[in-house]
């Protein structure tokens, strides 16, 4: 098991700086996911760890060794690419053997390793086929096998599931979790899919425009996002944001108001907040439902209804033009064009300053502090 440290990393392509001073620590044996929108620099960061991109400033340490200027082959990392990057003219066996041949291992050792990996990944009967004769899922397994066979401490994954269909993606996610539990390698996994991040990661790094927005366990990011960007990125559907004004500030929270809302107490810390300040109230769609006693009510015209059976997704447009997404009960009546009242409990909302910084919630589920979604499976 090997830890990774990134210290003050910067990377420029021409005049554009794409990685802007990133400091990160990946603990040994941890499954870390770097997530962010397209173009945020997550693949570039991964390639800098792998040695496929030069580092303009800063340092990369793998284990206790500085590898900033080391060749990719000398870093003790294996990488699984988005498009698998299998050698198309070689058989599966040859693909798996290639790295071991480069390392001058004996034929007997190579054969033993390749057969063992083939069996572990259920690709033993495919060893004599070429990549063009394999399905997407099989190719992904071969790509994984090519990494495993090298017996290194760090695996890097660059959106490996993005070319698979939805069902296969779910199956491969489970496979990756199983492998990580068995091998206990340090994994750095890049994806733009926050659902993948939430389900796979011990820790998530949210990246935007080359900067780290927040690092934490999946449920920490879900319940305690550090800023507007993380709040909007983590969680599907996206969190609803309501522009509000601070009416008053109390020790137990801030009362906010807007044309859509009655005065609502947001139970957060109120560091530096004062009456008259602009702010943003965040409410997740899954916390917006039909009104109950004690809930804050907000009303609008139904624009969109998506019935999924167990639940129904609705989009409501308020009189001031604000669009709100909600996940309500599957049996609830919602008709496009009709008016609908929605409610949320104040303790489920988030409050952000005018600069986008989250004010710490006083009330959040206990699970918000859990370190890993797999902690109960360890």
């Amino acid at each position: 098991m090997v830890a990774i440290s990134l210290r003050g990393l910067r990377k420029r392509f021409g005049a554009a700086e794409v990685i802007k001073g990133v400091d990160l620590e990946f603990a040994a044996g941890e499954f870390s996911v770097i997530v962010g929108p397209s173009g945020c620099g997550k693949s570039t960061l991964l390639r800098m760890i792998a040695g496929l991109e030069e580092v303009d400033e800063g340092a990369v340490l793998i284990g206790d060794r500085e590898v900033t200027d080391a060749d990719p082959k000398d870093r003790g990392v294996a990488m699984v690419f988005q498009n698998y990057a299998l050698y198309p003219h070689m058989t599966v066996r040859q693909n798996l053997s290639f790295a071991l041949e480069m390392a001058r291992r004996s034929k007997a050792e190579i054969d033993a390793k390749v057969n063992a990996v083939g069996e572990a990944l259920h690709i033993g009967e495919l060893l004599d086929r070429k990549p063009s004769q394999l399905s997407g899922g099989q190719r992904q397994r071969v790509a994984l096998g090519r990494a495993i066979v090298r017996d290194v401490g760090v695996f890097l994954f660059d959106e490996p599931l993005s070319n698979l269909d939805a069902a296969l993606r779910v199956a491969m996610r489970a496979e990756l979790v199983r492998l990580h539990r068995e091998l206990r390698n340090t994994i750095v996994y890049v994806t733009h899919d926050q659902v993948e991040a939430m389900t796979l990661a011990d820790r998530i790094v949210v990246l935007q425009a080359g900067k780290v927005m927040q690092v934490g366990a999946p449920l920490q990011l879900y319940h305690r996002p550090a800023n507007l960007f993380v709040a909007g990125f983590i969680g599907s559907p996206r969190m609803n944001f309501i522009p509000v004004e601070v009416a008053s500030v109390r020790p137990d929270g801030a009362t906010v108001r807007s044309p859509e809302l009655p005065p609502t107490l947001a139970p957060t810390r109120v560091d530096g907040l004062k009456a008259g300040d602009k702010a943003t109230l965040g409410v997740r769609p899954e916390h917006l439902n039909l009104p109950t006693e004690g809930s804050t009510v907000i009303e609008g015209a139904v624009e969109l209804v998506e019935r999924l059976g167990r639940e129904t997704g609705v989009r409501v447009r308020t009189s001031s033009g604000l669009a709100l997404d909600a996940i309500i009960d599957g049996a609830a009546r919602a008709v496009a064009g009709a008016r609908l009242a929605l409610g949320f409990r104040p303790e489920t909302c988030h409050l952000f300053t005018a600069e986008g910084r989250a004010l710490e919630r006083r009330v959040a589920p206990e699970i918000a502090d859990a370190l890993s979604p797999h902690a109960d499976q360890a």
Partner: protein, 275 residues
């Protein structure tokens, strides 16, 4: 879009006419090479031979210097082909994958080789070969052929290199392969069609080269086929049977080459046209 019968007939007729125009000379040469001399020179041309003889081939191969010309041409063309392929692969990879100062400028500059007609550089090239004591040396022809073939070969090779995903090379780097190993074990097998295209192009260019061969080679023993066959044209008479037999045999290596790897040449001409 469905075409009418009339349009189809017109198209078919036009294509048939062009096919006849293209193939007729070949048929004429091959069919005439087995005709008796009096039928060849007859004032009434015959499309289908009325006579049959192999005397022209026998005379060509036993009583003329043609076998020597053939060996010289094969040697020069094979060497030019090999050298062009090696240089084009190495240069093409360097231009496409490596970053170095002046790369883009140099890539455009090599095409300057085609800015001047060959005859313009003939005299200075003769001077250079003379200074290097390579006049009447087949190696001089190889140098000239490679010089004029490599720029276009690099251009052709680039299209095939562009089709190899960068991630495959990166995967090989992570697997511990050196640049040369990547080139030999990964890139070359994947650009084999491109290599075949370059090989055919270089072979044909060298095989049919006449201008420099006629100036740089002075002895009969070192002549190549184009120059040797031209020598059959005497001041007062032409041995047509001999020339036609020589022309027929001359086409054979190119036909054989095309038979085995010709499809790659067509692919090479159009590679990269559509992403």
């Amino acid at each position: 879009m469905r075409r009418g019968l009339g349009v189809n007939l017109a198209l078919a007729g036009g294509l048939a006419f062009l096919a006849v125009v293209a193939l007729l000379p070949f048929w004429w040469v091959i069919s005439s090479s087995i005709k008796a001399t009096n039928e060849i020179v007859s004032t009434t041309p015959t499309m289908i031979p009325h006579s049959f003889t192999l005397e022209h081939f026998a005379k060509l191969l036993t009583s003329s210097d043609y076998p020597r010309f053939l060996i010289n041409s094969l040697a020069v063309s094979a060497a030019s082909m090999a050298a062009t392929v090696v240089l084009a692969v190495l240069s093409g990879y360097a231009f496409f994958r490596l970053r170095f100062a002046g790369r883009d400028f140099l890539y455009r500059a090599i095409l300057l080789a085609y800015a001047f007609p060959a005859i313009v550089v003939l005299v200075p090239l003769y001077g250079m070969m003379s200074a290097a004591r390579l006049i009447d040396n087949l190696f001089a022809l190889v140098i000239v052929n490679v010089t004029f073939a490599v720029p276009f070969a690099i251009w052709m090779m680039r299209a095939f290199l562009a089709a190899v995903p960068l991630e495959i090379e990166e995967a090989a780097r992570l697997d511990g392969a050196s640049r040369l190993t990547i080139l030999w074990r990964i890139i070359v097998p994947l650009i084999a069609p491109g290599i075949a295209s370059v090989a055919i192009f270089a072979f044909i260019s060298s095989w049919t080269e006449y201008l420099f061969a006629s100036v740089l080679i002075q002895s009969d023993a070192n002549k190549t086929i184009p120059v040797g066959l031209a020598g059959i044209i005497g001041q007062y008479q032409v041995d047509w049977g001999l020339m036609l037999a020589g022309a027929t045999i001359t086409t054979l290596p190119v036909v054989v080459l095309f038979f085995f790897i010709g499809r790659y040449f067509v692919a090479g001409l159009t590679a990269g046209a559509i992403k």
